[in-house]
Amino acid sequence: MSVIYILIFFSFIVAGGFLLAFLWAVKSGQYDDGYTPSVRILFEDKKRKDTKQK
């Protein structure tokens, strides 16, 4: 039954990874603008420079 300890340990790592991913996504501003990216992706010849936040 001690396999449960390992399972719990890994499930926390996986879930914590998703939590961090979510926090990162919020921090990087992905939830600030829910519309423009959907239009931008349709433009052709996208030679845009990297526009990540400073």
Binding site: G16, D33, V39, R48
Partner: protein
């Protein structure tokens, strides 16, 4: 005698040719590259894009451009932006290599706009990149320090994307206002909630007795560890709100919630650490998670709308000043008394000043509510806020910007109290009583067990169980979801509300005050009627030929009304007399148009109908009187149905800054004693204050700066906006003019929200009563809490959303 009614509309010319750039109908013939253009402005944008291989712009959307027709401003003068003190405020970031500025560009309207603005680096060396946020209509532009700020602004202005740079933006440094903390809190709460649920499963299924003690201890420990961030981080806003409520000596709904959370957490820690039970960490984290979701749902934000405008948002940022015979542009806040300024067509006078020269026709509609521009002659004072229509004028500043009549009205301290502070939202009213009731019940439970059974342990358990089970989560969730849903339903209609609290205040309003010009009348459109001898087409053309020479607003309306402006005769010996009228010889006939005494030489109207007004224009041809044009405001569609409906359940008032000429039309909708004309902004404030003092809850609809002070005093204020939603005074809500025909239904809908919320309260209170009955007898198990609390919350939320949507559907609002 004949009467003709025709509407004068902006786009009366029906030509087949549409501008390739902006889609407006083309007047003159401007052709380039096989395409039609309506004006030089549009053509020059096309040329710029053509030369730089950016014509993709026209392929993404049809006629995506911004029309240059209505903009009288000049586009080259931005050098004052390079002034260090101005630049510092506008740039959000700068070092020795790059500079970043975020511009609010109201004319962003389609995907072509996004494309072009994000390809600026192809047009101009030095621009590194730009990123558009379509919803908030902003563009973040990064450019190298080789490029001046003024060059960037003038580039995007020339393309038709004039950024709105207001006085405010140069005084307050730019701050990123996005508060993302609520997302973090939800993320953390959701993560902990789901993990705690999994770890609590053995308890739910009553497997705990079969589990090893080790596992139970581990799960309990993990539960505490996971609950700590929920309790101390995610739930923090509730504690701080309850605390600030206590400091202000009032109990809000967050107090019983905090109390419940507090007891949940510490009793669970105690149970787990002593091994006496499994705790309620799952209920705790679930509750916080749902409450936070309610918060997010309630705050529907409209990024591109600004509800908090001050006079500073309306004023231009720079003004042309004459210095040593040269015109230079300086920031408005550097204007000093005695400066000579130049104002051109469509520009706003930034400070109270004396007219020096030029033909001043000041449109005060925004400041006073008068619908027609006023002529001013040299030596007269022109108040800040008026918009010049016509040629250029020269003025001398007599008061600095921040001391003008308008700004002093705005800054008056008594206008500053906002309605929100004084209004206690429904949920807080309930919360107050709720707290008392549960404190009494829980103490009763404690005393019962302690006195009758002398059992202190059970007594404490029963006490805490009541507090836990009575946590008003259902009540706390009903109103955010109901109000949030209403906010969205009305937002889809074009009625944008600042916050959920505004709807609560709308639902208790009993008096509605309307402004006239621009609120219940259409802006810019007017209705013209002619009475007198019928005119032949030839005579109409004679009058039109004369009227077209005059720049008086009434002449212009008449000229427009009479048709194609290019099809006219030459006018000779044209004279215009200020305040009277104008005359001229057309085709050998002497035509006179103007006031009664000017045209007929007598003060008695020669017609049976004596209801002529300031907005009547009399006509004579060769000395014989022919008739009168009457120019009336055009009311918004469906006004009679709206007003009649509102009259049934509300006291409605009209406060107009305009003269009494429309009195007859208005008395169909308003009771005579409720109509007030010639109201100055201060009169309006006093009127609303007196209504409020007599115990009325006042809702005010207005549109201009003249209403702004009154709107601040009213309990709820809604700004009505034709077109671009850009020029609205500070308000609780902004309404698109197109919504007006449905206004009565919207107001009635908001009234029904109150009942829905209270019904929701009743439902969740029923759950609480059941729960408390059980808790009193000290038989609460974690499983019961885990079922009852979400059940109460979810059914309250579902009821709130379903009932508001259903009601909206019933009232034809969806």
């Amino acid at each position: 005698m004949t009467e003709i009614y025709l509407k004068e509309e902006r786009k009366s010319l029906k030509t087949v040719k549409n501008c390739y750039h902006c889609g407006e109908t083309c007047g003159e013939d401007i052709m380039y590259d096989g395409k039609d253009f309506c004006c030089i402005g549009c053509l020059s944008v096309y040329k710029i894009l053509y030369e730089n291989n950016l014509c993709e712009y026209y392929n993404i959307e049809e006629n995506p451009g911004v029309s240059f027709k209505n903009s009288g401003e000049n586009y080259d003068e931005y050098s004052w932006l390079d002034d260090d003190s101005v630049k510092e405020k506008i740039l959000t970031y700068s070092d020795d290599k790059i500079q970043i500025a975020v511009f609010f560009i109201p004319s962003i309207h389609c995907s072509s706009c996004i494309w072009l603005l994000e390809n600026l680096q192809k047009l101009q060396n030095g621009i590194i990149s730009s990123e558009v946020n379509f919803l908030s209509k902003t563009a973040e532009i990064r450019f190298s320090t080789d490029l001046r700020l003024s060059e960037v602004v003038s580039l995007i202005s020339r393309l038709g994307y004039r950024p709105e740079i207001t006085l405010e933006s140069t005084e307050v440094p730019y701050v990123k206002k996005k508060d993302r903390s609520i997302y973090y809190r939800i993320g953390v709460a959701g993560f902990c909630f789901s993990n705690i649920m999994i770890l609590s499963f053995p308890e739910y299924l009553s497997l705990s007795t079969e589990l090893d003690r080790d596992y139970r201890n581990l799960f309990g420990l993990l539960n505490i560890v996971l609950a700590i961030p929920v309790f101390f981080y995610s739930a923090y806003p509730y504690f701080s709100s309850a605390l600030s409520g206590l400091r202000a000596r009032s109990l809000n709904i967050d107090f019983p919630i905090s109390l419940g959370l507090f007891v949940l957490f510490f009793r669970s820690v105690y149970e787990i650490s002593t091994g006496t039970g499994a705790g309620f960490m799952d209920s705790l984290s679930g509750l916080v998670f749902f409450l936070l979701i309610g918060r997010i749902f309630q705050q529907k934000t409209y990024d591109s709308l600004n509800f908090e405008r001050t006079y500073k948002s309306f004023f231009p940022l720079s003004v042309a000043v004459i210095e040593n015979d040269d015109e230079i542009r300086i920031p408005v806040n550097k204007l000093r008394t005695g400066d000579r300024i130049v104002i051109r067509h469509n520009e706003i006078v930034p400070a109270d000043s004396i007219l020096f020269g030029g033909d001043a026709r000041i449109d005060y509609s925004f400041v006073t509510g008068e619908s027609l521009p006023v002529s001013k002659s040299a030596g007269e004072i022109i108040y800040a806020g008026g918009r010049q229509t016509g040629g250029k004028i020269e003025l001398e500043v007599i008061r600095p910007v921040n001391q003008s009549y308008l700004t002093s009205l705005w800054n008056k301290e008594s206008f500053r109290k906002s309605g929100e502070e004084r209004f206690n939202s429904f949920v807080n009213v309930v919360g107050k009583y709720f707290t008392f009731v549960i404190l009494i019940i829980s103490s009763a439970a404690f005393l019962y067990w302690y006195i009758y059974y002398n059992d202190i342990r059970t007594a404490i358990n029963a006490f805490t169980a009541v507090l836990i089970i009575a946590c008003p989560c259902g009540i706390a969730l009903t109103s955010p979801f109901a109000l949030g849903n209403v906010l969205r339903i009305l937002g889809r209609k074009g009625f944008y509300i600042k916050s959920a609290g505004v709807i609560e205040r709308m639902s208790v309003a009993d008096t509605i005050v309307f402004d006239k010009t621009g609120t219940i009348t259409k802006n810019g459109d007017s209705e013209i009627s002619f009475s007198g001898d019928s005119l032949s087409d030839y005579e109409k053309k004679l009058i039109k030929s004369l009227a077209i020479n005059s720049s008086h607003p009434l002449s212009r309306i008449i000229a427009n009304f009479l048709g194609d402006k290019r099809d006219v005769f030459d006018t000779f010996d044209f004279r215009e007399y200020s305040g009277m009228g104008s005359r001229g010889i057309v085709e050998g006939h002497e035509i006179k148009i103007g006031s009664l005494s000017y045209v007929t030489g007598s003060a008695d109207p020669p017609l049976i109908d004596k209801s002529y007004t300031k907005t009547s224009v009399f006509i004579s041809i060769n000395g014989s009187f022919r008739g009168v044009f009457r120019i009336n405001n055009l009311y918004r569609d469906n006004i009679s149905e709206v007003m009649n409906n509102l009259n049934e359940s509300y006291n409605i008032f009209l406060l107009s800054g305009d003269n009494e000429s429309e009195k007859n039309n208005l008395s169909m909708y308003f009771r005579d004693e409720n109509i007030c004309f010639n109201q100055s902004p201060r009169d309006k404030v006093e009127k609303i204050e007196s209504l409020k003092n007599s115990g009325k809850k006042v809702m005010m609809f207005g549109d201009g700066l003249n209403d702004a002070a009154a709107m601040r005093v009213a309990d709820v204020s809604v700004a009505v906006s034709d077109g671009d939603l850009k020029f609205t005074p500070s308000s609780d809500g902004i309404m698109e003019a197109g919504v007006f025909p449905e206004l009565h239904r919207i107001i009635k809908y908001s009234k029904s929200v109150k009942r829905i919320i209270f019904a929701g309260f009743t439902i969740s209170a029923l759950y609480n009563i059941i729960g408390i009955t059980i808790a009193f007898n000290y038989v609460v198990t974690p499983l019961m809490a885990a079922i009852l609390m979400p059940l109460a919350s979810i059914s309250a939320v579902m009821f709130a959303v379903a009932a508001t949507s259903f009601k909206a559907r019933r009232m034809n609002l969806i």
